[in-house]
Amino acid sequence: MAKKIHETPMLDELEKGPWPSFISGIKRLRDQHPDERIRGVANDLLGQLEHSYETRKGYWKGGTVSVYGYGSGVIPRFSEVGDAFPESREFHTLRVQPPAGNFYTTDMLRQLADSWEKWGSGLITFHGQTGNIMFIGASTDATQHFFDEINEYGWDLGGAGPCVRTGMSCVGAARCEMSCCNEQRIHRTLLNRFTDDVHRPSLPYKFKFKISGCPNDCVNSIERSDFAIIGIWRDNMKIDQDAVKEFIEKKGRQYVIDNVITRCPTNCMTLTDDDRIIVKDEDCVRCMHCLNVMPKALHPGDDKGVSVLIGGKRTLKIGDLMGTVIVPFMKLETEEDYQKLVELAENAIDFWAENGLEHERIGEMIERIGLVNFLEGIGVEPDPNMVLHPRQTSYVRTDGWDEEAEKWFRRKLEEKKQAAAG
């Protein structure tokens, strides 16, 4: 290469040690890539990064870059030190929506790499924390070309800014025996219903869907998403007593007592003298611990569905919030069931779009207005599963008590009738 290679003494330290080094990867692009453009970009990128390491500061600023027809999906990055590092002066990221569960064939990964090499820096992150494939480092011109190319073979941009964001799902029913729902269908049904809200930011702030197949919640949906859908079952868990015996023979009674029976958060299990596990299922909170320890012997029940929790988010602005149970259980089998889930999401987003303040997540809005106002806004009845315990302060007006109690009894009667009919 004719141009001067930036010295990177600090970054070189990150080439040492056994873990794969991202610095070595960028250097490979700088030193070995056949395209001079990519070599130049990698060189200046390393130069700027070394400068950051030396001065302990970042030098990227935002701006406005988009692809035609969308207002979102590209994270613009312009260098503040572009004169010293001109070839990586424009270094935008394209956020691309992966399939639920992050599945790829090697053929598809190659095709994406080929397209990216043509237009971008040659660096891809699998995946960003929201869940996108992050194509890091395109010039403003190249952004449109790269998008056009991959858009033709099935890839679309994700969200950025105050909009519905790219979703995230666990591996789920594709490979996991704990899964209680079809994450693939839920994910695509919801995300693709809100495609317009992904591409055109017009909400108070970000809105994330995450789907976990069971309460182990491997995609961290309760804490990391505004709308968490978690697979669960409501009948009895399934117990293979032969497998229980086999497990005890292998690991010993003591192990089962110490690691399964006494770890149950609601003490709903006992181990009998003849080595059977008995569960009082109405006490079980589906925490998954015993299933995790004994995956061959204990399984979710057959009456599967999902719980929905709304309002999780991280620190800014009012502090961390976990999502709150809004729907303790709903079936997801028929087209109508899925439609109900979509309607719930529509109602929640619409109500928040109307009532949320600028830069206020839905969980923060609920915190500000109270859960009851939110429930009334989206037409969901109160349920004791939504709270850890009822109110403990007497500062409340209860003059509508009789009507509310009446509603509860009517609802219970209705549920009973439906159960009898079903």
């Binding site: 040690g17 873990w19 991202f22 950051s52 929506q97 924390q129 679309d156």
Partner: protein, 360 residues
């Protein structure tokens, strides 16, 4: 005007693609029909379906930010030693799925030979989930990618083995927005000084009412500085969170000296045993010290060692601390307990001990 400019291409708003087309055929056939799994060795899972079919998974750690050479290397391994189907976990590990047990050993060998690290399953320390940092973010206080590389170099044996009481999820974040999320151990930027304001730029760059509204403690107010409309910060109120910096870059929060790292423990997303928990502050004032951040790694290793020695099987870090209590946690780790550990944010009262449940 060229024709391309006259008729711009409209996007195909296909949204999220169909995942089934990229799934291993065994997984497609047995979707929702899996019976159980086994964990024959670190980095390997065997899932068995009710049909009797099985799928083997080999998990490997990567550098997360992949260059096209690395991607092609992974694809080459995937074609030669596996069945051409992969997926990525949310912690940026790659998983190769194969139907034939006999492919597992050669696949592991090929990955290790190419410099990838097989492991990260069950009760190991898996890959650190992290944010972008100086490489690409517009507001970073540190370079999470570098912190993670340096730390994984030292934790690699715990990635390769399953010697922890339960799984350990570590996260890092480059600012207090904390995109890295909750973790059993979280290494996050913690600023310690209010923003330095470039009053020449504020009025041009920032939408001032929006910036005022962003402040969690109402410490920012509009002001006229040297005759220019700007913003000022009540430094006594300021909690140095940096929330004003993204909407107003002239309010520079990052500082080479005063931007520090803090370590938090006990964040757990799972509902297993207890309800999900947020992580709690245990150490702060840690120097933001590139290129290898040795001080942060030393504290993480100290916490891991105490957890490994003292926790029972299946206890995550939060479960362990709940059993032994916070006084013992600080004793075992040798970390100081200070006034900064006592919360004063909203809801703080719920974190105070209103009982005589005291361990001696």
């Amino acid at each position: 005007m060229t024709q391309a400019q006259a008729t711009p291409r409209m996007p195909i708003e296909s949204g999220c693609p169909d995942g089934f087309q990229y799934m291993h055929p065994v997984m497609r056939r047995n979707f929702g029909q899996w019976k159980y799994h086994e964990h024959p060795r670190p980095g390997v899972l065997r899932h068995v379906a009710y049909s009797g079919e099985e799928i083997w998974t080999v998990k490997a750690g990567t550098q997360r930010i992949l260059d096209v050479f690395t991607i092609r290397k992974l694809c080459e391994i995937g074609d030669k030693y596996a069945d051409g189907y992969v997926r990525f976990t949310i912690r940026s590990n790659i998983e190769f799925m194969v139907a034939d047990k006999n492919k597992v050993e050669p696949l592991i060998n090929a990955l290790e030979e190419a410099g990838f690290v097989v492991g990260g399953t069950a009760n190991s320390v898996t890959m650190i989930s992290h944010t972008q940092g100086w490489l690409h973010c517009d507001i970073p206080g540190t370079d999470a990618s570098g912190v993670v590389k340096a730390m994984m170099d030292e934790l690699i044996d715990e990635f390769r083995n399953c010697r922890m009481p339960n799984r350990v999820h570590i996260t890092t974040s480059c600012c207090q927005i904390n995109c890295g999320g909750q973790g059993d151990i979280a290494i996050n930027v913690q600023h310690t000084k209010p923003p330095r304001i470039n009053h020449d730029q504020v009025a041009n760059v920032c939408e001032r009412p929006a910036v005022v509204a962003r402040c969690p403690v109402a410490a920012i107010r509009p002001a006229l500085v040297d005759g220019k409309p700007s913003l000022e910060v009540d430094e006594k109120k300021c909690i140095c969170c940096g929330a004003c910096y993204p909407p107003c870059p002239p309010m520079q929060i990052n500082d080479p000296e005063h931007t520090k790292l803090a370590i938090w423990v006990g964040g757990n997303h799972s509902n297993a045993r207890g309800r999900p928990t947020f992580h709690k502050l245990v150490a702060a004032g840690i120097p933001n010290n590139p290129p290898r951040w040795p001080e942060a790694t030393a504290i993480v290793k100290r916490i891991l060692r105490a957890y490994q020695q003292d926790a029972r099987d299946w206890e995550r870090i939060n479960d362990w601390i709940e059993r032994i209590g916070w006084p013992r946690f600080f004793e075992l780790t040798g970390l100081p307990f200070t006034k900064y550990h006592i919360d004063n944010w909203r809801g703080a009262r719920n974190s105070l001990n209103a009982s005589t449940h005291i361990r001696f």
